[in-house]
């Protein structure tokens, strides 16, 4: 899948990989791609939900036990669990 190739390209330039789950509340990042170990269907769904390479994501707030997290992406607010957020590779916006 071509999202993967971008992810690979990103890792080649940046030595450390940051995933969306690691971003603190209030942080704004840009999606680079999905992790290689992501299920293709899950990767595709995250793409369709707006987590596309180049998309800006804002970490809005966390649920009381820190999971799930609400993100603002593609002009909508969407909750993801950490497990899914960990599949999204990001870089500072």
């Amino acid at each position: 899948m071509s999202i993967r190739s971008e992810a690979a390209a990103a890792t080649a330039t940046a030595p450390t990989r940051t995933c969306l789950a690691d971003i603190a509340r209030g942080g704004c990042v840009e999606v680079v791609g999905t992790a290689e170990n992501a299920d293709p269907q899950v990767a595709r769904r995250l793409f369709d939900l707006g987590f596309r390479p180049g998309a800006h994501v804002e970490v809005m707030r966390r649920a009381p036990l820190r999971d799930p997290v609400i993100f603002r992406v593609a002009d909508a607010e969407l909750a993801l669990r950490r497990a899914e957020a960990a599949l999204l590779l990001v870089r500072p916006a």
């Binding site: 595709r44 769904r45 995250l46 369709d48 649920a63 609400i70 909508a76 969407l78 669990r81």
Partner: protein, 647 residues
């Protein structure tokens, strides 16, 4: 249409008439548009995934009737759930099982266009004639966003109609467009569907339409600052839940007692004025008594649906699900299952129907299989009766009343058991579907539509009365017959040495030699470990149709003068035969065992029927009935033994 609560039935679409399919993301205003086009009753709401069943209706367009099909809400045509597979299959011209629509209406929420444009691209790639319906353009303007609709139509190459909820102009314009799908413009080239080029296509279309994304809704942001705050949000959540149950149990109480006394006086009137006596008994005790028991739960059902519908349409249910997701994850479920389990505290039927909003088939099944363990309102009269037999109203454990504490414990036991069952079913569930990501949209807070809230309450009440009264009515009549037949003539009674001048002695003899007594005595050995005698067994067999019948059956069996309050008559009941003959029947171990039995057993044919309808096979209701009955038997035997040891 089995998918609705039961109120609406789809008018038949004439063969040969044109069919339009409605496609859109959850919360895109698709169902509202469907209602506006067809005038048909369908539930609309803010909770993502309300429309996950398939609805069809008829709309009048340019002087002819056309069919409109409301497809389940979806974010993508790359299906990962059964609902989404339906959408993909219907829009697939090569799929022979589903009729391909003649044209497609795609609803796009203009405030989230950057995301939903991807769904549009996937629909356009199918090659069917497409018309885009833009929704919430008023909200887009209010939130300082902008879109040139004409330029947007040119960029995507299809007709675009803007429809604002509550305004007829847009719908009328859409009807004009729908009159001639053959004349709809089509894009010269279908948009790309591979992820890389798709992003470019979306950007170019939105640039051409001079799209400026809306600012975050300031109202929603301000409210969420409290509602989703780790501390305040949790407090608001518990306050909401507390108010929810308080309202259901206290606000409904006056209406419930009014209905109850109305039925009691009606039964009294019938008993006094109807002849012969057996008919009066059947009508007064059986039919009116049985129906009355059920109808007293109508105010609770109405209130429950009113509150859930309001919370859902305002947008709070998605927030509650978000707050509860972590807890539900412990049981292998997800936040949305919480809503279904919450509904099950009134009745498992709406709870099971609420599982339609779960995208994962495995979660949905696990939730459906555990929902009947939540303490539903039908268990309430049984618990009240049995707890009254077990603990005295004056007993106190520390600062708490003993009766209230036992009741609370029973509710807690139900909830814990449901979560455990969900965990087991989720663990052993079908994992072939692959990992289903959890994602849930937090829609902006929106004012609920009075019409859809009222429709939701009305449909729930009508369905409740229609379905449940049928079952209760039939069961009560059958029971009355079984308890009163075979009929005994004066000669029979005299031959058996019964004092025919005493009505109590006569009815006791008739009862002890009735068909029901034979059945009860036949199953008596099965419930020997619990200490149940044949009279309790009859009550339990009757309660398999609906739990409430246990109370009225025990009342009939105890030949209580007042079947609505058989507690006093029951207290004095004694064991009839065997080594314990003459000793009290309702000892603490027996009553505790009955309570345990009612916590676990699936004694509700309506629930079985709904499980059959929602899963499409008899397999799951059979499994649910069996596992819950086995649990009920084991737990009641264990409790009888345990309480016997302690007391």
């Amino acid at each position: 249409m089995a998918h609705h609560h039961g109120g609406a039935s789809a008018a038949p679409v004439l063969p040969g008439s044109r069919v339009f399919a409605l496609v859109g993301s959850p919360n895109s205003g698709k169902t509202t548009l469907f209602n506006a086009l067809t005038g048909m009753r369908a539930k609309t709401g803010n909770y993502p995934g309300v429309t996950v069943a398939r609805y069809e209706g008829v709309s009048r367009v340019g002087g002819v009737d056309v069919g409109v099909e409301d497809l389940p809400g979806t974010y993508s045509l790359e299906p990962i759930s059964p609902d989404e597979q339906i959408v993909a299959a219907v829009l697939d011209p090569d799929d022979a099982a589903n009729r391909t629509p003649d044209a497609v209406l795609v609803t796009l929420d203009s405030t989230t266009l950057r995301r939903s444009a991807v769904l549009l691209a996937q629909v356009l790639a199918r090659g069917l004639p497409v018309c885009v319906v833009l929704t919430f353009t008023d909200e887009l303007t209010r939130r300082s966003g902008r879109l040139d609709v004409e330029a947007f139509a040119r960029a995507i190459g299809t007709p675009v109609v803007s429809v604002v909820a509550g305004s007829r102009a847009g719908v009328d314009r859409l009807r004009e467009v729908m009159a001639d799908p053959a004349g709809w413009s089509r894009p010269p080239l279908p948009p790309p569907t591979d992820p890389d080029s798709l992003t470019g296509w979306v950007d170019s279309v939105l640039d051409a339409a001079r799209y400026e994304c809306p600012l975050a809704d300031p109202r929603t942001r301000a409210v969420d600052r409290v509602m989703l705050h780790p501390v305040w949000g949790t407090l608001v959540f518990f306050a909401t839940m507390y108010a929810f149950f308080q309202t259901i149990f206290t606000v409904a109480a006056p209406a419930q007692s009014a209905i109850e006394s109305a039925f009691t006086s009606l039964a009294g009137f019938v008993t006094d004025h109807v002849h012969p006596d057996w008919l009066a008994g059947l009508l007064g005790g059986g039919v009116i008594g049985g129906v009355g028991t059920v109808v007293t739960f109508l105010p609770q059902i109405a209130l429950l649906f009113l509150l859930i519908s309001l919370l859902e349409q305002v947008g709070y249910l998605s927030r509650a699900a978000f707050l509860m997701d972590r807890l539900m994850a412990r049981a292998g479920l997800e936040g949305r299952a919480f809503v279904a389990l919450l509904s099950s505290m009134a009745c498992a039927i709406p709870g099971i129907m609420a599982t339609r909003s779960l995208p994962s088939a495995r979660h949905r099944l696990a939730t459906m299989m555990s929902a009947p363990l939540m303490t539903c309102s039908a268990r309430l009269p049984v618990y009240v009766l049995l707890v009254g037999l077990l603990v005295s109203p004056d007993a106190r454990w520390g600062p708490f009343g003993a009766q209230g504490t036992v009741m609370f414990g029973l509710y807690l036991l139900g909830a814990v058991s449901a979560m455990t069952a969900a965990w087991v079913f989720s663990w052993f569930g079908d994992r072939r579907g692959g990992a289903m990501p959890f994602y849930m949209e937090m829609p902006p807070y929106r004012l609920p539509s009075v019409r859809s809230v009222a429709l939701s309450v009305w449909e729930a009440c009508a369905a409740f009365l229609r379905k449940v009264t049928r079952i209760i009515l039939v069961t009560t009549i059958v029971l009355w017959l079984l308890l009163n037949l075979p009929a005994r003539g004066e000669a029979d009674l005299a031959a058996a040495g019964v004092d025919t001048s005493s009505p109590t002695a006569v009815s006791a003899y008739v009862l002890d030699h009735s068909y029901a007594a034979s059945v009860g005595k036949a199953v008596e050995p099965a419930f020997a470990p619990q200490g149940f005698d044949w009279r309790i067994d009859i009550g339990i067999i009757a309660s398999l149709s609906a739990r409430e019948t246990f109370v009225s059956t025990l009342g009939q069996v105890a030949a209580a003068t007042d079947p609505e309050d058989p507690t006093q008559a029951l207290r004095s009941m004694t064991v009839q035969d065997g080594p314990q003959a003459g000793q009290p029947l309702f000892t603490p171990p027996v009553v505790a065992a009955m309570l345990a039995f009612f916590v676990y057993a699936l004694q509700c044919m309506s629930t079985v029927a709904v499980l059959r309808r929602e899963t499409g096979t008899w397999r799951w209701p059979a499994i649910a009935f069996t596992y819950m009955f086995a649990l009920a038997w084991v737990m009641s035997a264990f409790v009888a033994w345990l309480v016997g040891r302690v007391t």
